[in-house]
Assembly symmetry: C2
Homo-oligomer: 338 residues x 2
DNA sequence: TTGTAGGCGTTATCAC
DNA sequence: GTGATAACGCCTACAA
């Protein structure tokens, strides 16, 4: 049963005051000096009629939509699920709604058209690729926006995690276990996160006085990880001896990589140890349970929303989020076998 | 660099026509009879100024927000990721934006307050629990809404999948392999999907002339699945002989269940076969690769949005989505060992 | 073929 | 302490 909508005027009529008064009561206007009994009447009428402010009218008037946007490449990627959770929680605490859309490259421009003008007060881009046409479009849309988790050429507003340190933590763990031939299953070369994790790997190997093992790039997918791991395990002329441990840039790739290890007739961690970036609940249910490096993804989402709310039009943001990065040791890493 | 916003009036001034003409050009009013050169001028001005309609003004005037809402319990659950994808795609093709929020029970009411009035034209509830206070609130909000994937007491608008058939397909597969002692790791008792999958299990067992094996309920989580499977494997007085196969109501539980099997020192599928509802990319990377029943989840999301767009206020919808349900056979099922 | 005008529901600036 | 009034930007009958 759909009732006809209730407006300020209805409430005002019922409470026998002007709409302006109702508006200021609703918005808790601190400059409003009102008799307690009048306020009571207004509140009662609101309750009685079930009044809820019309968002369209309000944002037309105030030019604030109380809504933020968040773009991700894919809802099925649990890494983004974490980011969404944090962003949504922070948006909620500010009284904002978060609209999350998945789209890549060209699709994003089309999506922005559907979003239209005046629907969102700010936009977060997580995992977006380089796209100068898009950034131009966003700048023209006259809403604040920033990139999350990865950077893009020419973009000067972003928050990222310390992927380099995460990689170093993973590698140091392997070194401490006694591994010396440590390979790197990297992310796709175009990904900023991949580059920073690879840099962390290289730095940590150098610090440990170890030569860089073979490095193979793969998409952040199980299939990509499986293919890359298969290549790592294939004896080559470069490395007479196969690696005893692999630092995998991403947990999705690691899942595929583990399968490739099994397919090669090897055992984890006896023949090869594996550690990956990003902790998922799933990791502890894999076989063997996967050692990971946990990153504060939800915090990243939260921070992004906070910044959106306080950003001035031409502000620059280049932030590496300070937050706990920790090794979650499980069963996929152990001292080298022989 | 944020430019001042461009309105219809700006475009009209530049094209030397009235705002009304611009509006009708923008909205492709078919009754508009306009000289080609005038239209050209308008289009050029729109392009030149980068005009995009103000959503707030438009929806205030038309009382349509061109936005649908979708509620899910948790972004991290890949089952909902599939539903979101389908819903988003269908919404996009209708020129709508989809806002997806995660909230449960009480949180949903608070979320609806933030959504306010007039921001969304319809609401999809996926995986929502029984909550008559909530449904009352939704009805009062005067927007069409319906439940997706599961039903709730007293709610007469929903679209669900044929979970009963999915369960039967899984059980028939096990029967065909030669299993006779088939246990059921069910979902939580309050979940409608769990009840329908359990009904499918019971019917299929009856059809096969087999006695129902032990049935244990668990949350749709790896932890829940692990605990339940452990109980199933514990010898009890009821069942002298342990099951040779288990039909698991949900893939997340199955992941935990597989771990419990290993922890018990048993091997899949040699000692126990496992088949679960819902196919995920991940399933083929588990060890062993998990046999699943694929359900048309994206199609469910798509159908929900389609219905929202065409629902009359007091329409009733009780639809079991017709769509392919198929067994994806992998390595976790095999004929019984002995 | 194009222009006029009223109003969607709200907020903010006045006035009383 | 409370009320009147003018926008916010757009759509749409109706008029010209």
């Amino acid at each position: 049963m759909m009732r006809t909508r209730v407006t300020l005027a209805d409430v005002a009529a019922m409470a026998r005051v002007d709409r302006a008064v109702v508006s200021r009561v609703v918005n808790k206007d601190p400059t409003l000096n009102i008799r307690p009994e009048t306020r009571e009447r207004v509140l009662a009428a609101i309750e009685e009629l079930g009044y809820r402010p019309n968002v369209a009218a309000r944002s037309l008037r105030t030019s604030r939509a109380h809504m933020f946007g968040l773009f991700i490449p894919d809802f099925a990627n649990p890494v983004y699920a974490e980011i969404i959770k944090g962003a949504e929680a922070e948006a909620a605490s500010q009284g904002y709604v978060l609209v999350t859309g998945s789209a890549t490259g060209a699709g994003l421009g089309e999506y922005m058209d559907r979003i239209g003008q005046g629907r969102i007060d700010g936009l977060l881009l997580a995992g977006a690729a380089d796209d100068s046409a898009l950034t131009a479009q966003l700048d023209q849309a006259a809403i604040p926006w920033l990139m999350l988790n990865n950077r893009s050429r020419g973009v000067k507003r972003y928050v990222i995690l310390d992927d380099q340190r995460a990689a170093a933590i993973a590698v140091e763990h392997l070194v401490l276990l006694g591994h010396r031939r440590i390979a790197h299953l990297a992310g796709p070369s175009r990904a900023d996160t991949a580059a920073r994790r690879s840099a962390g790997y290289s730095a940590a190997m150098r610090d440990a006085g170890l030569p860089e093992g073979p490095i193979v790039a793969a998409d952040y997918t199980p299939a990509g990880g499986a293919a890359a791991m298969a290549r790592l395990l294939t004896p080559s002329s470069d490395a007479a001896e196969p690696p005893t441990a692999v630092f995998v840039a991403n947990v999705a790739s690691a899942i595929g990589a583990m399968q490739a290890v099994r397919a090669a007739g090897l055992e984890i961690p006896r023949d090869v140890s594996i550690v990956a970036v990003h902790d998922l609940e799933l990791a502890s249910y894999l076989h063997p349970a996967l050692t990971t490096v946990r990153m504060p993804l939800a915090e990243l989402g939260r921070r992004g929303v906070t910044l959106l709310g306080s950003l001035k039009p031409d502000d620059t943001v280049a932030e590496v989020l300070a937050g706990p990065i920790e090794l979650i040791q499980r069963s996929s890493t152990a001292p080298p076998g022989r």
